[in-house]
């Protein structure tokens, strides 16, 4: 591994061109080692969650933590799946998430188009509002949101919670989508219009297809927000209408020190759909980048 005399190696696998091949190689080895070590540290809690979810109850009691689970069992998962309250919470979460995502992404998309492609009075104020709203912490408003839903008879209701979620998701999604729409050069649309498209035709045929990754990103953000949210759900939901995070908390509080395996199984089950979604769309997100479509 001579680093002083070897001629510049023609390794071009790196994404970043090597400016100094001798030094670059050493740096890369160090960086790779770092990736493995830090990756393992960051991954450990997830490993522990899965391993414990599959760990027989008898082994939880051992004085030494079981670092490698040699007797995986599905008893905890089955336990959770036979819990009626889990299924009822799943139903609430699924409904809240589905409605919130559809509504929020659609509305945010229209707003982002307006902000990105039009100049109109109040545009600056709208952008400022979008930014400022994201700064408002949930706890700064949940008292009055609780009173509001209480007054409308929407406490413990899917619609009440969904309304609050849409309010959180829309501003952030506007910001995400505005970025993506800004990234599609207007020249593409103008070229289509010169070729005979109407303005709407140009937008729908040229720009919209390029916004797939942006819409997917926005939708994922929306799904994750609604599925994972705990604070507002804790404040406005109850009376048997719990979301999954609330269910997990109740379940965890009741079973700590007696059924860690069940708690971990529940945690994995809640996390699983989100993770799968994330990983499925990951490759799709990489496609459709517009860089290079117009060379200036």
């Amino acid at each position: 591994m001579s680093t002083t005399t070897a001629p510049p190696s023609a390794k071009d696998e790196a994404v970043v061109p090597q400016r100094n091949p001798h030094r670059g190689r050493k740096v890369r080895i160090a960086a790779n080692t770092f990736a493995v070590v830090v990756g393992l540290i960051w991954f450990f809690p997830i490993y522990w969650m899965i391993s414990s979810a599959l760990l027989p109850n008898s082994e939880f009691r051992s004085s030494t933590p079981v670092f490698v689970n040699l007797h995986p069992t599905f008893e905890h998962v089955q336990g959770v799946l036979s819990d009626d309250r889990f299924w009822s919470a799943l139903s609430v979460s699924a409904r809240v998430t589905a409605i919130a995502v559809v509504v929020a992404v659609f509305l945010a998309f229209l707003t982002a188009v307006a902000i990105s492609r039009f100049r109109f009075a109040g545009r600056g104020a709208l952008i400022a509002t979008v930014l400022v709203i994201q700064m408002i912490p949930a706890e700064a408003l949940f008292i009055s949101q609780y009173k509001m839903l209480d007054g409308w008879g929407l406490l413990n209701s899917v619609f009440g919670l969904t309304l609050l979620y849409v309010g959180i998701i829309v501003p952030f999604n506007v910001w995400i989508l505005k970025g993506f729409i800004d990234g599609v050069p207007v020249e593409l649309e103008q070229a289509a219009m010169i070729d005979g498209c109407t303005r709407f035709g140009a937008f729908f045929r040229v720009t919209l297809p390029l916004l797939g990754p942006g819409l997917v990103t926005a939708a994922i953000f929306a799904i994750i927000t609604a599925w994972n949210e705990y604070t507002l759900a804790l404040v406005v939901m109850g009376g048997g209408n719990e979301t999954l995070p609330l269910w997990l908390q109740t379940f965890s509080g009741a079973n700590q020190a007696t059924n860690w395996g069940g708690i971990m199984a529940g945690s994995v089950l809640i996390a699983l759909p989100v993770i799968i979604l994330f990983m499925t769309v990951q490759t799709r997100m990489a496609a459709g980048l517009t860089a290079g479509a117009v060379k200036g």
Partner: protein, 326 residues
């Protein structure tokens, strides 16, 4: 190398600006109602979900609104009495101080680790980057409530792996140390959890910012005799500064609003008095004790504090956006 993991490239909130979008020339001459129609739905929903509660909260903050009023008694306006009560209570200042310290320590640690990750990621091989990005993506995607349970298990007094390791690695570590039994231990755990789950987003965003630094400029600077530090200072930093601003803003907002982690750790045994942060304190006042007037007054102060803390950043974002599209 099969999947070169440009995962995050599509995820950045601010796509590339080096090919600056041409000035938008539409609608200069013709006033149209179209943009207003487009934003109408979003504006209505946000006004319902956030705008109305905001107004309602200002009103509540100036009212005597306790349990009696919740059961039908008309709420009386009491002027600044709620604020006076909140601001003359030393405990309020304790909660504020605790929240601010928690926020800035956690946000700073997260930023340092995340940005450092990004710098290392730029330099590693494809497979290593795929590995670490996949792991970070996993961590990022785990719901907070799920990861909280496993962290509680890890730090559990008797069954926890952390105590087990520390008892063997640190000679003076006491047996069965109860992390949640005292405020410092609990807040440290909360901070670790928040950092662990926030680093992925920070490093992704910083990485996509770094990946945008044009190689040509770097090479040109090198030819002109700039050394590593100078290239970093005068080429890399200016390009990624806006991205870092955005991440910093988000971290501060998110860490100041930390609620779930603290609330859940409190529920599993930590003392309330010494661990309350802004969110849990307001929750306790309002939802817990039914004192909506006091809770609203505190929440209003928190609101102004948040706006005050982050206004410079928002101004910067707003300005960047104007420059980009003007």
């Amino acid at each position: 190398m099969a999947s070169p993991a440009p995962v995050v490239r599509a995820k950045r909130p601010t796509p590339p600006t080096d090919d600056a979008p041409a000035p938008v020339v539409r609608n200069v001459k013709r006033r149209s109602a179209l943009p207003y129609l487009l934003v109408l739905g979003a504006v209505v929903m946000v006004a319902l979900a956030l705008g109305y509660p905001l107004v309602r909260q200002f009103v509540l903050a100036f009212q005597e609104y306790g349990l009696a009023q919740s059961f039908g008694m008309p709420a009386e306006f009491v002027g600044l009495q709620n604020f006076q009560e909140v601001l003359s209570d030393p405990y309020t200042y304790e909660v504020f101080a605790r929240s601010l310290i928690f926020c800035f320590v956690t946000a700073a640690v997260t930023m340092i680790i995340g940005v450092f990750f990004a710098f290392v990621m730029i330099r590693m091989s494809g497979w290593a980057r795929t590995l670490i990005q996949t792991i970070l993506l996993l961590v990022w995607s785990i719901p907070i409530v799920s990861s909280l349970t496993v962290w509680q298990l890890l730090f559990d007094t008797r069954f926890g792996a952390v105590n087990w390791v520390l008892e063997r690695a640190v000679p003076w570590w006491q047996d069965d140390y109860n992390w949640l039994g005292q405020a410092t231990g609990m807040l440290v755990i909360a901070s670790i959890i928040v950092t662990w789950m926030s680093v992925p987003l920070v490093s992704f965003m910083a990485y996509s910012g770094l990946a945008q630094v044009p190689d040509e400029i770097n090479e040109a600077a090198e030819l002109d005799g700039a050394n590593g530090w100078e290239r970093f200072r005068f080429v890399t930093v200016p390009v990624i500064a806006p991205v870092l601003y955005l991440i910093g803003l988000l971290q501060i907002i998110w860490d100041l609003r930390v609620f779930t982690q603290i609330k859940i750790l409190q529920d599993s045994g930590a003392s309330l008095e010494d661990t309350d942060v802004l969110g849990t304190y307001i929750f306790r006042l309002g939802i817990g004790q039914g004192d909506f007037g006091m809770a609203s007054a505190t929440a209003t102060i928190v609101l102004f504090l948040t706006v005050f803390v982050t206004l410079p950043y928002v101004y910067q974002l707003f300005k960047n956006d104007k420059e980009e599209t003007a």
